[in-house]
């Protein structure tokens, strides 16, 4: 009960998941259910001349075929819900099915609804479409060229938006002692949550209610958007996302297929299921990253950093996905100065349309890209002035006593002890000895590399006022209801929507600790718009700092009310009652007490309540955070590169993270592990590749290198705990830190290993071939 916060508790979601009793969207089986399959454009850019669905309609088992023309006036446009201010953003029309033109391979052209999965899929092949193929452009800088094909008539030059921020002026760089410049390619990544996206719709013509089972990270946002797109009252739509098999940002967006399923279910009067296959997932579920970054970094010869500025040309794909414009702008730009005292910083961001899959948030969303370029620049700068990269970091880290710290990008970092985390990581890895060992091995011709990252992250999205100021078309507070049942058991309803992060457990721990009831007596409910008042979902590492604190406040409301009842029961004044370990007791006479369960029963019986107190016992909170939260830490990686093959072997990986107070160390560590692997995936193996015609070359797990178990040794992880000062629980987020820190850490190690060849930078992923080529070029140059 008490002291359960901060301890490892086995996950409460696991029993159903390890016995095959989870409820993922595709698991839903309904009487009379139909299956949908979508014909997708094989061309990256083409005019639709004609669509002939006659044969498909006659195919066995087919119930209906819809094209874009059929939906005009019936299904609204797919919206973009993040509109960065003063960016001249062009939210061009995005139809659920293409009407006159397709703009990327995978763009939906027609949907078949049939009696079985196989019948639907068969009929898709019978739809005949005549296309007039147009030239395509896949690279964002090429798309900005004057002669480039234009995707949307209302976005000339393919520029979707242009956003600038910061205070870095030319003079700062002109007058700097040292300026380092570097271009980075943040390659495109494919999120690849293991569960493909799925939607099931069921319409009740009698009540006019539409129930949708969706693979969503934010069911209430989905309901809100579906309401507008389908022209249905919000309260007549119920969205359920009970178990969701990972998201990593790719299940935030409102997708055309989800809308189509809702429309088909309503129109046909029968339940409809659609589930993408993995090939579709590669083609149509949002991608991440894909930015071209030109960076200037200025400093003094003594190692002091003075300025950083970045031009970011971001590839948005063919349409602006739901949250996409916020990623390369707000989420990227504001964190560019990182954990350092850099007085001048600036970003200049272009979002560009190309004939590729739309991009959107992917684990870290903007912050990994910013952290990558910063941590790479720090290494390049340190190398330029001949300083150890750790020394350079130490010299510039924001100091413990300087918090709250106001950055050049206008953020107020809440708290931190950056040097503590750095020191701990250096101790764990044995940094000084490692450098000696590296020198020794280098003299033997072996390529050992050490990479360090000292990061800070902005997360816990976020204060709603700020959300509005930065153009997010929603609030970012969170709701919680804590309902104590007559027997003292507790149900918690959260508007956050975890999908693997373990909050059914950690949220129960929050309540157990605060209310003094057993974890086993608490159930956490999420992912159901009918049971939960409102919620903004799970992304941006907001679930615990925002949703968790909402729960803490709701518990406090329960206690506040229960205290009044307890005082009445104990026949003392309320001021004379204190609450401890699940029990209300009279101050100075602790034997006179009533347990929370006893008080709850009285609250429900309501035979003898104090005047003015309503029966029953529950608390609801709508918590809007006062600030973001800023987790931080140091990651260190040791690699060895095989010169003959170019292969990078990760010898050690040390992660020290600080996410404020840790609720469940096992779960926090698990989040770090997963994040590290995803970030290393970007550093070494992963990358989406399009050919010039806009065909996705890396369209299956055979062509896109996903990290596997055998690529790694065990990671060494630890936490420092610097409580977050601006929220009741003192917590920060931990879901994205691994991904944010590990990519530059590994790349810094690889480049460090290659420094004998005068190699300063390489594009990711640093595959054996790329590294081998670089070694050989370096050798030739020597």
């Amino acid at each position: 009960m008490a002291n359960v916060f901060g301890t490892t508790v086995k996950r409460r979601e696991d029993p159903r998941l390890i016995t095959g009793n989870g409820q993922y969207a595709d698991d839903v089986q309904l009487q009379g259910m139909l299956y949908a399959s979508i014909l997708r454009s094989p061309h990256a850019h083409a005019k639709i001349v004609s669509i002939d669905t006659a044969k498909a309609k006659q195919s066995p088992g087919v119930v209906a075929v819809f094209t874009g023309q059929d939906l005009l006036g019936k299904v609204g446009l797919i919206p973009t819900a993040w509109l960065p201010p003063e960016s001249d953003i062009k939210t061009t029309a995005h139809h659920a099915l293409a009407v006159d033109k397709v703009r990327y391979v995978g763009d939906g052209v027609a949907m078949v609804v049939a009696e079985s999965r196989y019948a639907a899929r068969d009929a898709v092949d019978l739809i005949e479409v005549k296309y007039e193929v147009l030239p395509a452009v896949v690279d964002q800088e090429a798309a900005m060229q004057a002669q480039a094909p234009v995707l949307h008539d209302d976005a000339p030059g393919n520029v979707a938006f242009h956003w600038q921020a910061g205070n870095a002026a030319d003079e700062v760089f002109e007058q700097a002692e040292v300026v380092v410049r570097q271009r980075f390619r943040q390659q495109r990544l494919i999120p690849n949550a293991m569960e493909p996206r799925s939607a099931v719709g069921q319409y009740n013509a009698g009540t006019g209610e539409l129930t949708m089972w969706l693979t969503s990270q934010n069911p209430h946002i989905h309901r809100f958007l579906l309401s507008g797109i389908l022209g249905m009252a919000e309260h007549k739509i119920r969205v359920l996302s009970v178990d969701v098999g990972g998201g990593f940002g790719s299940k935030i967006a409102c997708y055309p297929d989800e809308v189509l399923v809702g429309y088909a279910a309503k129109t046909l009067g029968r339940p409809v299921k659609w589930t993408e296959d993995r090939r579709e997932n590669f083609l149509i579920t949002t991608h991440g990253r894909d930015m071209t970054l030109d960076v200037e970094f200025a400093g003094k010869k003594d190692g002091t950093f003075t300025a950083i500025r970045v031009k970011n040309v971001a590839n948005m794909g063919a349409y602006l996905s739901t949250a996409a414009p916020g990623v390369p702008t707000i989420l990227f730009g504001l964190i560019v100065p990182g954990a350092y005292k850099i007085p001048y910083a600036g970003v200049d961001v272009y979002g560009v349309f190309t004939n590729t899959t739309p991009t959107d948030a992917y684990r870290g969303a903007g912050r990994p890209e910013a952290t990558y370029l910063l941590e790479r620049m720090v290494d390049l700068f340190a190398r330029e002035i001949g300083m150890d990269p750790v020394e350079a970091r130490k010299k510039n880290l924001i100091q413990n006593h300087e918090f709250p710290y106001n950055t050049a990008m206008g953020l107020e970092y809440d708290s931190g002890n950056y040097e503590l985390a750095l020191g701990k990581a250096l101790d764990m890895v044995g940094y000084d000895q490692l450098r000696e060992e590296q020198a020794k091995l280098r003299s033997q011709g072996r390529l050992l590399g050490i990479g360090v990252t000292t990061y800070v992250e902005i997360c816990g999205l976020g204060p709603s006022q700020v959300a509005g100021a930065v153009g997010f078309q929603g609030g970012l507070w969170e709701s919680a209801t804590v309902r104590v049942h007559p027997t003292g058991k507790v149900t918690v309803f959260t508007g956050a929507s975890p999908h693997g992060q373990g909050e059914e457990t950690t949220f129960a721990q929050i309540v157990a600790e605060r209310l003094g009831v057993a974890v086993d007596d608490i159930e956490v409910v999420h992912g159901d718009t009918d049971r939960i008042a409102m919620g903004w979902g799970t992304y941006g590492s907001r679930t615990t700092p925002v949703g968790g604190n909402a729960i803490a406040i709701a518990v406090d409301k329960v206690i506040e009310k229960a205290k009044k009842i307890a005082a009445h029961m104990l026949e003392v004044a309320e001021e004379d009652v204190e609450f401890q370990d699940g029990s209300f007791q009279v101050k100075g006479a602790p034997s006179r007490k009533a347990s929370i369960q006893e008080v709850t029963l009285q609250a429900y019986l309501a035979w003898n309540l104090p005047a003015g107190v309503e029966p029953a016992l529950e608390g609801t909170a709508f918590y809007d955070p006062a600030n973001f939260v800023y987790p931080f830490g140091t990651h260190i990686c040791v690699v060895e590169i095989d010169k003959d093959t170019g292969e990078t072997k990760i010898l050690r990986y040390v992660a020290v993270d600080d996410c404020g107070r840790v609720i469940n160390p096992m779960i926090a560590e698990g989040q770090v592990h997963g994040g590290i692997v995803q970030g290393i995936g970007q550093a070494l193996w992963e990358g989406a590749v399009y050919d010039d015609q806009g065909q996705l070359v890396t369209g299956t797990f055979m062509d896109y290198a996903m990290p596997k178990a055998r690529f790694f040794n065990n990671f060494e992880t630890a936490f420092t705990e610097t409580p977050a000062p601006r929220n009741p629980l003192g917590v920060k987020g931990i879901g994205e830190t691994g991904t944010i820190a590990s990519t530059p850490t590994v790349v810094n190690a690889v480049i460090d290993a290659l420094s004998p060849y005068q190699i300063k930078d390489l594009d990711m992923p640093m595959t054996p071939e790329r590294v081998w080529q670089a070694i050989h070029k370096g050798r030739d140059a020597q």
Binding site: G20, Q29, Q678, R710
Partner: protein, 174 residues
């Protein structure tokens, strides 16, 4: 599409008769025809292993097996591995060691682990990592999956040695 065929599959110990198209994948037969939705589909190219089941006692990817190929054979899915109160050591390991996050790949990874431990009851960490070549997990970073399999191996080995001790009749003699 061709004519449907009658097949018999013993699923989790219970014989089932099905009429299926010859092209029907085993995983679709399990999920859509038999309602055993614990087995998941993560890809179409046999890379991810989310659909792994035991077929004739061997771990196979059920997205790459036709239901008709399983005719006359026994299939074990996650639903047949163990229930709450009587979990298989591999399930226990995944729960104890936080071997799952979103849980989607988990049934397939657990069935793969069962197959792995059948072949090699005492795997080293490296052998476990090699043995997981056929599965992809996007959440855990694999470290706790490895721990889960190690836990299961220990449990199964100590259960076996206890059984041996009991069988040799010297269990309580000391």
């Amino acid at each position: 599409m061709s004519e449907k065929q009658q097949i018999r599959i013993t699923v989790n110990g219970i014989e089932k008769q099905l009429e299926v198209e010859p092209r029907l994948l085993l995983v679709h037969a399990l999920r859509d025809e038999l309602g055993l939705t614990g087995t998941h589909i993560g890809c179409d190219t046999s890379q991810c292993g989310a659909c792994t089941v035991l077929l004739g006692g061997e771990a196979v990817k059920s997205c790459t097996v036709l239901a008709v190929q399983a005719d006359g054979m026994g299939v074990t899915t996650v639903e047949g591995l163990g229930q709450m109160g009587n979990l298989h050591p591999v399930q226990e390991g995944f729960w104890e060691k936080h071997g799952l996050q979103c849980g989607y790949c988990t049934p397939g990874v657990m069935m793969t682990a069962v197959g792995l431990l059948q072949q090699n009851p005492n795997p080293t960490e490296e052998e476990i990592r090699e043995g997981l070549e056929g599965v992809i997990c996007r959440c855990t970073g694999y470290q706790n999956i490895v721990r889960a399999v190690q836990y299961a191996a220990d449990r199964m080995n100590s259960a076996n040695s206890e059984a041996e001790v009991a069988a040799s009749g010297s269990g309580d003699q000391k």
